[in-house]
C-alpha cells in the first residue's frame, strides 16, 4: 500500500483511538483515585496527536534523513614506527604501519613492516580481514607476502589481535606457506605515561619458523626476538617523534646462518623516528 493511501487512514484511526483511550483513562482515574488530583495532574496537558505522522521508510532512508548512522565505516592510516636505525651494516630505514577501513565489527586491514638498507628493501605486507569476536579481541585472517633479497614467500595467515589484561597490545599470527612452510609471529607492547605527552613504549616481538629457508637466512624453530624501548613525545597525539633502542637476537639455525655470513647474532641499535597516524 502506498504511503499516500495510508496516511489519511492512519490519521482517521488516530483521531478515533485517541478519543477512546482518553475516555478510558479518565474512567480509570475516577475509579481508582477518587481523592483530589495533584496540582501537577491538573496542570499537565497531554499533547494533541500528530497531524502529519511519519510514514514507513527503510532503515537506510531513515538513517539518511536523521543524518545519524551508527554503522558508518571509518578508516585509519598509522605508522607506529617510521624510523632510522643505526646498525652495524650502516643506516637503515625501518617502518611498521597499518591501514584499516571498516565498521565496529569488520575491518579490512593492511599491515606492512620492513626495512630499507642501501637500496634494498626487505619486509612484509599483509592483507587481512579483522572481525571482532569478544570485548577485547578480534580474529584476523588473510594473506601475507614477504619480500627481500632472497626469494619471496607468500603465506595464508590467521590469528588474533587485542588488548590483554593490564593494557598489553597483543598480536599473535600463524602462517602457512607454499611447500609446507609454517611460521608464527607474536608481539606485545605497552604504553607507559611518564607525563601526559612523554610516553615510554616497550615492545617485544618473536618469530618462529617451521622449516629451514636458508635462501632467506632462516633456520627452523625459534628464530628471532626483538626488544624495543621507545620514548616518544606527543606534540599531538597523532604526531610524535621518538628515540630509543632496539635489541635484537637471532637463535638456532637462523643464528648459525647469520654467523656463516659473518653477521652478528645479536645487536643493539639506536633508533629515532616518528609515530604518525591520521
Amino acid at each position: 500500500m502506498s504511503a499516500l493511501i495510508k496516511l489519511p487512514l492512519a490519521l482517521a484511526l488516530f483521531g478515533s483511538v485517541v478519543t477512546t483511550a482518553a475516555a478510558q483513562e479518565e474512567h480509570q482515574h475516577h475509579e481508582h483515585h477518587s481523592e483530589e488530583r495533584t496540582q501537577s495532574e491538573r496542570a499537565h496537558v497531554p499533547p494533541e496527536p500528530p497531524q502529519h505522522p511519519m510514514g514507513d521508510m527503510s532503515e537506510e532512508e531513515m538513517a539518511e534523513m536523521m543524518d545519524m548512522d551508527d554503522t558508518a565505516p571509518f578508516g585509519m592510516v598509522a605508522f607506529d614506527q617510521l624510523e632510522w636505525r643505526d646498525t652495524d651494516a650502516g643506516d637503515v630505514l625501518f617502518w611498521d604501519g597499518r591501514a584499516w577501513f571498516g565498521n565496529d565489527y569488520n575491518k579490512a586491514l593492511l599491515k606492512t613492516e620492513g626495512e630499507r638498507s642501501d637500496a634494498d628493501y626487505e619486509g612484509s605486507a599483509e592483507l587481512l580481514w579483522d572481525r571482532v569476536i569478544s570485548r577485547w579481541w578480534s580474529l584476523q585472517g588473510g594473506v601475507a607476502h614477504d619480500f627481500g633479497e632472497g626469494p619471496s614467500r607468500t603465506w595464508a595467515t590467521f590469528g588474533v589481535q587485542g588488548l590483554a589484561p593490564y593494557w598489553f597490545e597483543v598480536e599473535a599470527l600463524a602462517y602457512v606457506g607454499e611447500e609446507g612452510r609454517t611460521a608464527a609471529n607474536f608481539s606485545a607492547e605497552y604504553e607507559m605515561f611518564l607525563t601526559q605527552r612523554w610516553i615510554l613504549q616497550p615492545k617485544v616481538e618473536v618469530k618462529i619458523y617451521g622449516r629451514d629457508d636458508p635462501a632467506n637466512g632462516i633456520g627452523s624453530g625459534f628464530s628471532d626476538a626483538e626488544l624495543g624501548l621507545r620514548l616518544r613525545y606527543e606534540i599531538r597525539r597523532e604526531f610524535a617523534p621518538y628515540f630509543g633502542a632496539v635489541w635484537s637476537r637471532k637463535f638456532g639455525g637462523t643464528a648459525d646462518l647469520a654467523r656463516e655470513h659473518g653477521d652478528d647474532t645479536d645487536e643493539l641499535q639506536f633508533v629515532a623516528g616518528l609515530r604518525v597516524w591520521f
Partner: protein, 589 residues
C-alpha cells in the same frame, strides 16, 4: 502578523550581555548587540552560518538568526506559538524544542517527527504552550548542535513566577570547538582516549605509593589493568578540544549579569553543551535551587550543583555585598571551565577559583562495592520475574525491581562492563564532588512542587541497560546500537516505569522526548519530574512515564557523540488496540 520585538541594550567592552528582565520582564530584557530576545507568539528563525572567533581563530558556526547561542525565545504559558524556521544551510537541518510537551510532528527530530528542514526550505512549527519554566532548543541533525545551533527558551508562568525575583538571567553553558565535529567523532572511534590529558602517569604512581603504600597502589593498578579501563575517563572530549562558553562568551570575555545589593537574582542555568557536564558554583553565595528542567521544586539551598548536558536548573541568589561574584562552571574532568560574573556594575571581576583536582573513578563507580551508598541484593536468577529484552513484559510492582537482569543482547563484543550490584541511591553527588567540603545538590534533594502528573502506579517496568565500549567508542542500550534495535512500544495512556542500569563507567544524561520522566526514589516514591536524567556509572534508577503522547519519539543519551555512536532508541506510543499502524524503524523487518 509577526509580533517580533527585538531589543538590544547595554553592551560591555568585550562582554556579550545576555540579560533577562527585572520587574516587568519586557522592559528590562537586554543583551549585547549580538544577542536578541524574541517575544510574542510568532517567530521567524533562520538557520544559517556565521563566522566566529572564540579562540583567536576564525571558524564557521551554525547559527539561528546569526547568533550563538540563538536568540532567547520568551513564550507565555497558555499561548499557541508559531515558529517559521527556514534553513539556509547546505545540509538538512532541524530544531527540537527540548523538554516541550507537544505533538509528535512538532518535536523536530528528522526521521521520527518530520522529514527535517531541507536546504533552502522551511518548516512551520505550531503548538500550544502548556508549561512554564526554563527550556532550550537545539538542532537534532548530526553535529549542528555542536557547531552552535542552540538557544534558550523561557516560558512565563501564568499568574507570575512562584519565586519572584528582581533580576532574571539565562546562563547558558556550552562547549565550543574549533575542530570539525566529524573529525572529533572519527578520532574517538580510532583513539577514544585522545582528548584525555589527565591520565595517571608514572609520577602519580610514585605519589600514590608514598601516600597509600606500594601494596595498595599495585592492587589498585592491578584492578584497573585487569578491567582494561582507565579511572580518569570521565569526559570523552575535554578542554583540549573545547572552549567553554557562558551565554556565548568565553571565560576571558567574562559574561556579566548586573545586580543591586539585596536584590534576588534568578539564574536560569541551561547546559547546552554537546559532551560536557559542568559543576557550577558562585563562591560567596548560596544557591537556592527552585526549578529543574522547567519544573518548580521545593527550594533547596546548596553551594554547588552538577548539570548534565541538556539539563536546566533555576537558582536564586541574594548577593548581600556590593561586590563582584564569579559564576564558575568547571567541566567534570577539570580540563577547563566556563566563567562569568555577577556584579553591581560592569567591568568588575572577582577571583576565579582554581580548578578542583581531577576526579578518579572508584571501584564503587564500577559497581564493585559502593562508596557509602547501598547496593542491591546479589543477583538471584530465581527471583527474576521480568524480561527487560521484551518491553511488553509485565511487572506491576509498586517499587522498582531489585533484580538485575542483563538482557541476552548484552552478549556483544561491543560492551566492556556489566554491573551486578548497582548503586541504588540518589544522594550521591558523583565523582569529583564527594566530600569536597561544599554542600552539593543531588537528585535526592529535588522534590517537584505539585507532585506527579499521574498518581497511578506503573503497570509494568522496562529495564534498560546503558552500555558501551570505551575503547571502541560504541554506545548503546542493552548492548544494541540504534541500528540493531527495534523501537520500544508504549501503549497510549499507560503508566509505566523505566529502570535504567548503567553498565558503563560514564555518566549518561538520558532524554525521553515528548513525555516527562518522573524520577522515583529506590522505593518507588515520586521525587522529581525531569526531561533529562543523569545516570551515574554503575547506578540504577527508575522513573515513571505516562505514555499520553501518541506517535514516534526519540529516546537517547544527550552526549551528542554517544547518540551518534548508537545510544539512541525510538519510542513508539501506540493506541492500546495496536491500530493506526504507521510503521517504524525496524518494524518491517
Amino acid at each position: 502578523m509577526p509580533q517580533l520585538s527585538r531589543r538590544s541594550f547595554l553592551q560591555a567592552a568585550g562582554a556579550g550581555l545576555f540579560v533577562l528582565g527585572a520587574h516587568r520582564a519586557s522592559d528590562v530584557w537586554a543583551q549585547s548587540q549580538t544577542q536578541t530576545v524574541l517575544t510574542g507568539s510568532h517567530f521567524d528563525l533562520q538557520i544559517g552560518e556565521a563566522s566566529f572567533n572564540f579562540t583567536g581563530h576564525k571558524r564557521i558556526g551554525t547559527v539561528v538568526n546569526g547568533q550563538i547561542p540563538g536568540p532567547l525565545l520568551r513564550w507565555r504559558e497558555g499561548d499557541t506559538v508559531t515558529l517559521r524556521v527556514s534553513n539556509r544551510l547546505a545540509a538538512r537541518s532541524s530544531i527540537h524544542w527540548h523538554g516541550m510537551i507537544l505533538p509528535a510532528d512538532m518535536d523536530g527530530v528528522p526521521g521520527l517527527s518530520f522529514a527535517g528542514i531541507p536546504s533552502g526550505g522551511e518548516y512551520l512549527y505550531r503548538f500550544k504552550v502548556n508549561q512554564h519554566g526554563t527550556y532550550w532548543y537545539h538542532a537534532h541533525s548530526r553535529f549542528q548542535e555542536q557547531t552552535g545551533l542552540y538557544g534558550p527558551i523561557v516560558i512565563e508562568r501564568r499568574g507570575g513566577e512562584r519565586f519572584p525575583t528582581e533580576r532574571d538571567y539565562v546562563v547558558m553553558l556550552s562547549d565550543w570547538t574549533d575542530l570539525d565535529p566529524e573529525r572529533i567523532f572519527s578520532v574517538l572511534k580510532k583513539h577514544s582516549d585522545y582528548y584525555n590529558f589527565g591520565r595517571r602517569t608514572a609520577g602519580d604512581f610514585f605519589a600514590d605509593v608514598r601516600k597509600n603504600g606500594l601494596g595498595q597502589t599495585l592492587a589498585d593498578r592491578r584492578m584497573w589493568g585487569e578491567m582494561r579501563m582507565n579511572p580518569t575517563d570521565t569526559l570523552d572530549v575535554s578542554g583540549y578540544a573545547y572552549t567553554y562558553l557562558m551565554n556565548g562568551v568565553t571565560p576571558t570575555g567574562n559574561w556579566t549579569g548586573l545586580f543591586s545589593r539585596g536584590e534576588k537574582v534568578r539564574l536560569r542555568f541551561i547546559n547546552g553543551s554537546s559532551m560536557s557536564f559542568f559543576d557550577v558554583r558562585i563562591p560567596g553565595l548560596k544557591l537556592s535551587v527552585v526549578a529543574t528542567d522547567g519544573v518548580d521544586v521545593e527550594p533547596v539551598s546548596v553551594d554547588e550543583f552538577r548539570i548534565g548536558a541538556a539539563e536546566t536548573y533555576d537558582v536564586i541568589v541574594e548577593p548581600k555585598d556590593d561586590r563582584a561574584y564569579t559564576i564558575f562552571a568547571q567541566a567534570m574532568d577539570r580540563s577547563g571551565y566556563a566563567r562569568g560574573t555577577l556584579a553591581p556594575s560592569l567591568g568588575l571581576e572577582a577571583e576565579i577559583p582554581p580548578l578542583d583536582p581531577r576526579p578518579l573513578l572508584t571501584m564503587g563507580d564500577m559497581g564493585h562495592g559502593g562508596h557509602g551508598a547501598s547496593s542491591s541484593a546479589p543477583m538471584d536468577h530465581s527471583q527474576m520475574n521480568h524480561a527487560p529484552a521484551n518491553p511488553h513484559a509485565g511487572h506491576g510492582a509498586a517499587a522498582p525491581s531489585t533484580t538485575i537482569e542483563h538482557p541476552p543482547t548484552e552478549q556483544t563484543p561491543l560492551l566492556d562492563m556489566q554491573v551486578d550490584r548497582p548503586n541504588l541511591e540518589l544522594d550521591d553527588p558523583g565523582i569529583g564532588l564527594r566530600n569536597n567540603g561544599r554542600r552539593v545538590l543531588t537528585y535526592a534533594d529535588l522534590r517537584t512542587i505539585g507532585g506527579s502528573i499521574d498518581r497511578r502506579p506503573p503497570g509494568r517496568e522496562i529495564q534498560l541497560h546503558l552500555t558501551g565500549h570505551m575503547e571502541r567508542f560504541v554506545w548503546s542500550f542493552n548492548g544494541q546500537k540504534f541500528s540493531e534495535a527495534k523501537p520500544l512500544k508504549f501503549q497510549l495512556g499507560e503508566r509505566l516505569r523505566i529502570t535504567l542500569v548503567n553498565d558503563s563507567m560514564m555518566t549518561h544524561p538520558i532524554h525521553l522526548h515528548g513525555m516527562w520522566s518522573e524520577l522515583e526514589d529506590a522505593s518507588g516514591n515520586f521525587q522529581v519530574r525531569k526531561h533529562t536524567v543523569n545516570v551515574q556509572p554503575a547506578q540504577k534508577l527508575s522513573y515513571a512515564v505516562t505514555a499520553d503522547a501518541l506517535g514516534r519519539w526519540a529516546y537517547h543519551c544527550h552526549l551528542l557523540y554517544h547518540m551518534e555512536a548508537g545510544m539512541f532508541r525510538e519510542v513508539h506510543v501506540e493506541p492500546a488496540d495496536g491500530m493506526a499502524h504507521h510503521g517504524g524503524h525496524g518494524d518491517h523487518s
